[in-house]
């Protein structure tokens, strides 16, 4: 289970800081972009939720095509190992604050593919999850409820620390990386430098580092800028 971790935070002296925080989380909760990535069968209930019948836009949520601009990553059901790699890449590319919603049974305990050699069983081993929506697959109404729950969590984050699961990825990067390495092999690496980001955001803890990050350092090859040569 999640341990309470000590985060070294900069001293905030401004008396209006809290008012400001509240305002920011209010704004954040009112405008969310959802990454358009259907990882599994639950994606079939997203079009109804997005379009006129259930109309996600009234919650201020819209699909977005690139991860860089998206706030919400919806994991719609099972993730095969092959997809999981891409999902992690995508997740790391997203800008903080970012939120993950696990839809369907499969994201919790393997779902109906629990026997399958090709799918990951527990999403929260590989990335922190904000909200789960039960169902196989959940109806659009349930998806909408889940999104509202996420909005509430973001809105109340400063009070209850519910909408900040993403910080956990930086706080305990070693844990997530370890699980990823166990599945993809020791030489697993992504182009995003999570440790540097954690330092930047002041989110590093003693659990950010560990033997897995050491292993990563050993294998990591620098990511060279890509050349595009067009004559």
């Amino acid at each position: 289970m999640k341990k309470e971790l000590k985060i070294i935070q900069k001293e905030r002296t401004n008396p209006l800081a809290h008012v400001f925080d509240d305002f920011i989380s209010f704004c954040q909760s009112k405008s969310l972009f959802m990454l358009h990535y259907c990882t599994g069968c639950g994606a079939i209930e997203l079009p109804p939720a997005m379009t006129s019948r259930f109309d996600m836009e009234r919650l201020g949520i819209q699909p977005m095509v690139t991860p860089r601009q998206a706030d919400i990553l919806l994991i719609t059901g099972y993730v095969s190992i092959k997809t999981l790699k891409r999902v992690i890449l995508t997740y790391e590319q997203m800008q903080s604050p970012k939120y993950v919603i696990g839809i369907c049974s499969c994201t919790v305990n393997g779902g109906m593919y629990w026997q399958s050699y090709a799918t990951a069983k527990k999403l929260n081993e590989y990335m922190p999850v904000d909200v789960y929506i039960a169902g196989c697959m959940p109806r659009p109404e349930a998806v909408m409820e889940g999104l509202q729950r996420l909005k509430d969590n973001i809105r109340n984050d400063k009070k209850e620390h519910k909408g900040s699961a993403w910080k956990d990825y930086f706080n305990r990067y070693d844990y997530y990386l370890g699980n990823q390495q166990a599945l993809f092999g020791d030489d697993w690496q992504t182009p995003t430098d999570i440790i540097a980001e954690a330092k930047l955001y002041d989110l590093e803890t003693e659990e950010t580092y560990g033997k897995h990050t050491k292993l990563l350092e050993k294998h990591q090859t620098p990511l060279l800028p890509q050349e595009m040569r067009i004559k």
Binding site: I81, K82, K85, V108, N109, G110, W114, Q115, S116, Y117, A118, A120, K121, K122, E125, L183, F184
Partner: protein, 217 residues
């Protein structure tokens, strides 16, 4: 075009066994050697031009793979399923067969699929490479001797639930009795009768016995 009865064409192939299963289904069994000839014949002479599927069945007990070519004729409105068996091969010497890509383009997909899932190499197939399982390093997963469930239990962790109601039950002396995994470890749903009663009765007997030993002495 003069219509030649399909049986007549089929019978040109040596050692063929024809079973008319129903109006639109014919099953033929041929030797591995004659199968390409058969396909060529039915495609060329009898308008069986639509390769519906190629299936591989792993008959591990016979140490054989069965390849089934389902070919449909738009004119005859009939499906011929051509069955043949090839040697299952071994790890060092994987099973091999000839490709029918020249005859049927879609064989590319099906043969590649069988190559990935069963490890059968089709000689002459244009793309004998991984497609779906590009990031899979194990044995071809569809082989009967690959135990997916054991692999899963070994590789993945399950969510360890501990809800309040379960805690309550455990405090009362109950709790989890039969996990779903327990009944599946036998590999067979039919050896999984719970023998709790019998075990309980035995335990009770042991207890009673201990008590009796007391007054016996």
């Amino acid at each position: 075009m003069n219509k030649v009865p399909i049986d007549e064409i089929l019978n040109k192939v040596n050692g063929i066994k024809i079973t008319h299963k129903r109006k639109t289904r014919i099953r033929v069994d041929v030797d591995a050697d004659s199968l390409p000839t058969l396909l060529e014949l039915i495609k060329g002479r009898a308008s069986y031009i639509h390769l519906s599927a190629i299936t591989c069945v792993d008959w591990i007990a016979d140490n054989q793979f069965e390849l089934v070519y389902h070919v449909w004729s738009y004119e005859e409105k009939c499906l011929i399923s051509a069955h043949t068996r090839i040697d299952r091969g071994s790890e060092s010497n994987p099973a091999k067969y000839v490709s029918v890509y020249d005859l049927f383009k879609p064989a590319d997909f099906f043969e590649r699929d069988i190559f990935e899932m069963y490890g059968v190499t089709f000689i002459g197939s244009p793309r004998m490479e991984k497609f779906i399982l590009t990031e899979w390093n194990g044995v071809p997963p569809m082989l009967k001797d690959f135990d997916a469930e054991a692999y899963v239990q070994e590789t993945f962790k399950w969510t360890d639930y501990n809800p309040d109601w379960l805690q309550e039950l455990t405090d009362q002396g109950g709790g989890i009795a039969v996990k779903p995994e327990d009944i599946r470890t036998a590999g067979n749903t039919h050896n999984m009768s719970t023998h709790r009663e019998r075990d309980k009765a035995k335990a009770a007997a042991v207890k009673a016995n201990e008590k009796m030993q007391g007054w016996k002495q």
